[in-house]
């Protein structure tokens, strides 16, 4: 189990499921069942569990915190209305996670398209509040902080510059730790297609990040 998966379960651990590997899934399934009958407390638990990931993915795709939170909220609203559809799923907990991310991805896409946002705008917004000033509290030198902020900005710009069809699977896989199958389920394409999209995304990033990689090489 990856560290990201562990992060997913940590809220459940807080809810008292302990370290039992299957306990998290069972707890989510139990809350799903209750939520589908209209139990708002159970659904609130589900929101607490999944909100971080949903909002993080949305942030990567829409590029600013305000819209990302908006997308995340709307994602859960859609989920509430569609909980019935999960009742017949074999593994409702896993299905719910992919389903939520799928909704978030689609909503983010819709928002981006509706607003016609350019990738570099998105990247600039994403970096708002995370420039050198945000790193100033660390013990590093000012020049190191500035350099790190610049590197981060360039990486964000490169990711944001990826075409959407490559950016979505790349974010889900390389930044959110999803498996190929999950990415395929979320984006609604074949797993093989996801693999090829990711190859393309990595190559594109490598090309765009070439100078940074060279700089690293020179160190």
């Amino acid at each position: 189990m990856t560290s990201r998966a562990l992060k997913l379960l940590s809220p459940m651990e807080q809810a008292g499921t302990g370290g039992d590997p299957g306990a998290g899934a069972r707890a989510i399934a139990e809350r799903l069942e209750r939520a589908s009958r209209g139990d708002r407390a159970a659904f609130s638990d589900l929101i607490r569990i999944h909100r971080p990931r949903v909002q993080r993915v949305a942030l990567r795709l829409v590029g600013n915190h305000e819209d990302a939170e908006d997308v995340a909220q709307e994602t859960f609203v859609r989920a509430w209305h569609g909980l019935e559809t999960l009742r017949e799923a074999d593994r409702p907990a896993a299905a719910f996670s992919s389903w939520l991310l799928g909704i978030a991805v689609h909503l983010s896409r819709d928002l981006q398209r509706a607003r016609g946002r350019r990738p570099e705008d998105a990247a600039a917004s994403l970096l708002d509040g995370q420039g050198p000033d945000a790193l100033a509290g660390s013990m590093r030198t000012p020049s190191a902080i500035t350099e790190e902020a610049e590197t981060r900005r360039r990486v964000e710009l490169a990711i944001a510059a990826l075409p959407e069809r490559l950016r979505v699977p790349f974010v889900l896989r390389a930044l959110e730790g999803q498996s190929y199958d999950h990415v395929a389920r979320i984006t609604g394409v074949r797993a093989a297609t996801v693999r090829t999209q990711l190859v393309q995304a990595r190559r594109a990033l490598r090309r765009m990040l070439g100078p940074l990689l060279d700089e690293e090489d020179g160190r």
């Binding site: 609203v77 995370q130 990826l162 190859v199 594109a204 090489d217």
Partner: protein
């Protein structure tokens, strides 16, 4: 410059490393391999740096602050969505939701822009092989209209709009794209126009691939284009790009889109090798337009140099379709085609065999190597009608005796190869059934009357010829050759034995009267000397034929009577002839 590629076996491990999914064991294994492989060592370094950069760019974890407000907001929205009846509404677009029409419109606009871009590409480059302008066979897209719809900020859209009436032409869709030229020219044009694929829509995967990936990855871009509702020409080009790189799913996609992509999909399937060819064979069985395109593609491939579709033909293929493809194949041996015809009896195989230069050799070899079985013999007889060989004569005569319907035509084809003498002999011997004898003579006289006449005269078988000719004529009244044949027989047969035949021929002519066919003056010219023949009976018969064929009665019946009397005392024939002439002329015989 492109970085050296890592070993295939380790690529996935390196990808997992970039993605942050590599296990410790996997990383350790790559490291061990990298100690002995410079390419992989370099790739490992790059992968680690990439991962490091990505980790550094990770979005900060959300804090719990604001969590309750967030949840409250969710339920607030849920409550505001409830209808007055208290039921939750179905999922529907909210303020974030797309307007589908706008989405679709945007997609089509971007595709139009893609088409516009390709026009610009053409305008900036020398004409490549794969993009040659052809008059009518290639699909065309009106780029003026496309450019009108293109987003203003799209590179190339304005340029295209400045060139109203220009069309996107992507070459002959039945021919494979020249990939290297296509790629080189497109990339050159991208540079020239300053087009940035990263800023383009996600509906430009093909351009992205061309810009930054090696040719083996073009399939991905082509798939992306095929998955859109883009212009036919663009999708056709994508299909052809995909062809040699298509996997099983691509082939299924091409099959699904065969109706809209047509020849481009067929070309792509052909370029995909044997599996693609098999799909074309199955499509060919569907009939209709899809089937016709598939057969056309298979036939074109047969005529080309790349592969022979017959090698991948399923056993259950409709022989008529297979034969149509076979006809186009110059390398297909006549003997193989003939064997297929003998096995199936399908005419297209026979037609295909007959078009081969070595068809007659193949037929002779087949006759030589094995005695034909009944069913095969009948088919071989049919083959003989198209490409006759001397060795087929015994078989054809046997078939004629047995009453094979194809035998008369086959025998007619064999006349110069001994068929004429064989028919005369068979008729004289009385071995043939009368109806087949008549059919054989009709066919023979129809095919070469002069040859039959020569053979009959050479063999002293004028009587046989006259008899057979008349029987054939009686069976087929529209035959016109017998008229000329009888005239010539009457004129040329010589010797005592031939006299009665000559008279018979003339009397037959008198009986049948004028027919269509050779012009009467020609016939009368042949008949005229016979009226003065020393044989009064022949002369009298010639007068009858002359009159029957429309000749002027420039002599009186008395002259006929004198001619007859020169031969001796009046006979029954004399009486018959003078009565007949008198009736026709209205004059009383002397």
């Amino acid at each position: 410059m492109r970085a050296p590629r890592p070993c295939r076996a380790w690529r996935e491990s390196l990808r997992e490393l970039v993605d942050g999914h590599a296990s410790l064991e996997s990383v350790a294994a790559v490291e061990r391999h990298a100690e002995t492989c410079a390419n992989c060592a370099a790739e490992l370094q790059v992968a680690r740096r990439m991962r490091g950069l990505l980790d550094g760019a990770a979005v900060a974890e959300l804090t719990r602050a604001g969590e309750e407000a967030f949840i409250e907001g969710v339920f607030s929205r849920i409550d505001s969505d409830r209808s007055p009846t208290g039921e939750a509404p179905p999922l529907r677009p909210r303020r974030l939701a797309p307007r589908r029409a706008v989405q679709l419109g945007a997609a089509s606009l971007v595709l139009a822009a893609a088409a516009a871009l390709l026009l610009v590409v053409r305008s900036h480059t020398a004409r490549p092989h794969g993009l040659e302008e052809r008059p009518s066979v290639a699909p065309r897209v009106d780029l003026a209209a496309a450019a009108d719809n293109a987003p203003a900020e799209t590179v190339g859209a304005r340029s295209a709009a400045d060139r109203p009436g220009r069309e996107l032409v992507l070459g002959d869709e039945r021919a494979p794209l020249d990939l290297e030229r296509f790629t080189a020219d497109l990339l050159h044009a991208l540079d020239a126009t300053g087009f940035d694929p990263y800023r383009s829509s996600d509906l430009q995967p093909l351009l992205l691939e061309l810009d930054m990936l090696d040719p083996t990855d073009l399939a991905r871009g082509a798939r992306g284009v095929l998955g859109t509702d883009g212009p036919q020409a663009l999708r056709g080009a994508a299909a052809r790009l995909l062809g040699p790189r298509a996997d099983v799913r691509d082939r299924a996609l091409l099959r699904d889109q065969f109706s809209t992509l047509g020849h481009a999909a067929a070309r792509s399937l052909l370029d995909g090798g044997e599996r693609g060819v098999r799909i074309l064979w199955s499509l060919s069985a569907e009939g209709g337009e899809r089937g016709a395109i598939a057969v056309d593609a298979l036939a074109n491939a047969s005529a080309g140099e790349d592969l022979d579709p017959l090698d991948a033909m399923p056993a259950e293929t409709d022989p008529s379709i297979a034969a149509r493809v076979a006809i186009a194949s110059p390398d297909r041996m006549a003997r193989e085609l003939l064997d297929r015809f003998l096995a199936t009896g399908e005419s297209p195989w026979l037609d295909a065999w007959a078009t081969r230069e070595d068809a007659e050799d193949a037929l002779a070899q087949t006759l030589e190597r094995r005695p034909p079985r009944d069913v095969e013999r009948s088919r071989l007889v049919r083959a003989t009608t198209l490409r006759p060989v001397e060795t087929a004569l015994p078989m054809v005569m046997a078939a004629l005796v047995d009453g094979d319907r194809s035998a008369p035509a086959a025998l007619a084809a064999l006349l110069p190869l001994g068929g004429a003498d064989a028919l005369l002999g068979a008729t004289a011997s009385g071995r043939l059934r009368s109806d087949f004898e008549d059919a054989a003579w009709r066919a023979a006289i129809g095919a070469n009357a002069d040859l039959m006449l020569e053979a009959a005269l050479r063999e002293g078988a004028a009587a046989v010829l006259v008899s057979a000719t008349m029987r054939a004529f009686a069976a087929e009244a529209s035959e016109d050759n017998p008229t000329l044949l009888l005239v010539r027989l009457a004129a040329r047969a010589s010797g005592d034995r031939a006299l009665s035949s000559r008279i018979d021929a003339l009397l037959h002519l008198a009986a049948i009267g004028p027919q269509s066919g050779p012009p009467a003056p020609l016939l009368l010219d042949e008949l005229a000397p016979l009226r003065q023949d020393p044989s009064p009976r022949l002369a009298a018969a010639a007068w009858m034929a002359w009159q029957a064929l429309g000749g002027e009665l420039d002599q009186t019946p008395a002259a006929i009577d004198r001619a007859l009397r020169r031969g001796g005392p009046p006979t029954a024939l004399h009486a018959r002839l003078t009565r007949a002439v008198g009736r026709r002329s209205g004059a009383r015989p002397h």
